[in-house]
Symmetry: C2
Subunit: 200 residues, 2 copies
Amino acid sequence: MAQYSVASLERLIEQFERLPGIGHKTAARLAYYVLSMKESEAEKFADAILEAHKKIHYCKICCNLTDNEICSICEDERRDKSIICVVHDTRDVVAFEKTREFNATYHVLHGLLSPMNGCTPDMLHIKELLARLNNDEVKEVIMALDGTVEGEATAMYLSKLIKPLGIKVTRLAYGIPVGADLQYADEVTLSRSLDGRIEL
Amino acid sequence: MAQYSVASLERLIEQFERLPGIGHKTAARLAYYVLSMKESEAEKFADAILEAHKKIHYCKICCNLTDNEICSICEDERRDKSIICVVHDTRDVVAFEKTREFNATYHVLHGLLSPMNGCTPDMLHIKELLARLNNDEVKEVIMALDGTVEGEATAMYLSKLIKPLGIKVTRLAYGIPVGADLQYADEVTLSRSLDGRIEL
């Protein structure tokens, strides 16, 4: 008995399966949904994939994603250019922007130092960061990196490069999350939040 | 403070968000993954979407999906053409094919009768099914429809059309799933499985 299969459908399912967190069943569900779309909608979907790939690249200044030469944050004249917030990933920029409180600029490293995973300093966008520090405008660099071993190692590495330039280097506060139950906080976080206690 | 956004990225996220079961966060994760793909891989993905849409259509005989004129099942000479298994959706065909035990042909209705949702007989592929019954070859039509109100209504409707043609109409057995705990079976299923009990 010949196995029933439709080659183009199989190919589409395979493509969806390559996406992170999408297994075979979800991939099949998405592929069938794409088949049920109107032709014009499927074209829009395919175009969005190609267009995003063609148009989006790194901002010349901060290495954030943009479809212009310079991203809208670096271009914004009302932004405080004397503070640079160094982040791991472009998604972290989105997270900080959501606070609507941060009014300075970013620098996206696109990775964290991790010798185990073969991520060395030359693979991060550190050169571009140092180039920005060569003028007198920058007063502070905030290390807004993950609270992991890799994040801390990267922050230490960068601070050793930046401090000699006479620029203040800070890092995010460690502590208990707002709204969290104390009993669910791990002991490292708790002891860090004790160390960083603030007078009321 | 201008809101940071990248138009082409937003469009891609929006497109992913349209897929069933994909919320905003997952859509963003998938979109970022697409950005991280090689250009050639992104092109393959987009092509798969367009190609599936262009090439795949309904089999002229059984209304199953195919990229040829007639699907590989209807074309297969070793298949028993005297039995037609009527299913709701193309995915049901895949499910039956997985049993590797069914060696006859299918007919895909692409829907179930549901006056509440505005699904009327003329919206299902019933005409094509009746056309297949006009030769003497077909001996039996199996209603392999969902065990829902819509599935049963559709099966009743079709059997009233088909029985007068002198063709045997059957439906799938109701009963407890293989490997299931009796205590988790609902009472309707249990009483149906009692009705359909078989001598050992």
